[in-house]
């Protein structure tokens, strides 16, 4: 089986991500597909570039998977995030969660995308018609007052 958590440069196949979480005991699979949107607050995006600190990003995705398994027992999670050049409508991220019951599958999936936007070292550079910007802090929180985000159970070794 492929890795459950991966950073890729090629287009993401949604079905392949779903396949990773299929199980006989799962009655519900939710997926989230994040695509490149053309318009953001009245400004037109031409294309995007995503950059990642790849080994750490994979590790943080796996960490999100662990957090989910703790919060919603008996779920299975797979996340693929693409980096590099992405055009409008291209898929940037796919999150698939399977669970015996649907409530957990929805909740865990939404939790995953929120956590990706907090702790996974991936950066988006928007290329507009009239310029380019590195996008930061999409959750519009204040810059980490502790110098680090809310990351649990973690040691520096």
């Amino acid at each position: 089986m492929n890795e459950l958590f991966e950073i890729v440069e090629e287009p993401i196949e949604v079905e392949a991500v779903i396949k990773k979480v299929e199980r006989r005991e799962a009655g519900a699979i939710t997926t989230f597909i994040g695509t490149v949107r053309e318009w953001t607050r009245g400004r037109r995006t031409v294309y995007l570039k995503y950059q990642a600190y790849v080994p750490m990003a994979v590790k943080m995705l796996a960490k999100i998977g662990e957090e989910i398994n703790e919060k919603w027992p008996n779920t299975e999670v797979a996340i693929s995030h693409r980096i590099g050049h992405l055009d409008i409508s291209d898929i940037a991220v796919v999150i698939a969660v399977s669970s015996p019951h649907r409530k957990a599958a929805y909740e865990a999936n939404e939790y995953a995308i929120e956590r990706i936007k907090q702790i996974v070292p991936i950066w988006k550079k928007e290329h507009w018609e009239d310029g380019e910007t590195w996008i930061g802090d999409q959750l519009e929180k204040v810059p980490y007052p502790n110098g680090k985000p809310d990351v649990k159970d973690e040691k520096h070794d």
Partner: protein, 77 residues
């Protein structure tokens, strides 16, 4: 030697994705101060830090052989 990784706008501003600092050990806070002076990376006040791929606080210590990554606010997803 401590290896430093830079990303996003930090990388563009420093003109490099990687630096090395010749030190046996240093706190992250001191390391940031050195880089702020040497490369004018004032943005370091608002970034997270990872040592060997794990987030750490500014008072943590990095040693020779470690990889320190400065992580600007992330925007994946």
């Amino acid at each position: 030697m401590i290896k430093i990784l830079l990303f996003a706008h930090l990388q563009e501003k420093a003109g490099s994705d990687q630096l090395t600092i010749d030190k046996e050990q240093t706190t992250i806070r001191d390391l940031k101060n050195i880089l702020k002076e040497t490369y004018q990376l004032i943005e370091l006040d608002q970034v997270m830090t990872a040592v060997n791929e794990e987030y750490v606080m500014d008072d943590e210590i990095a040693k020779a052989g470690d990889t320190v990554a400065f992580i600007p606010p992330v925007s994946g997803g």
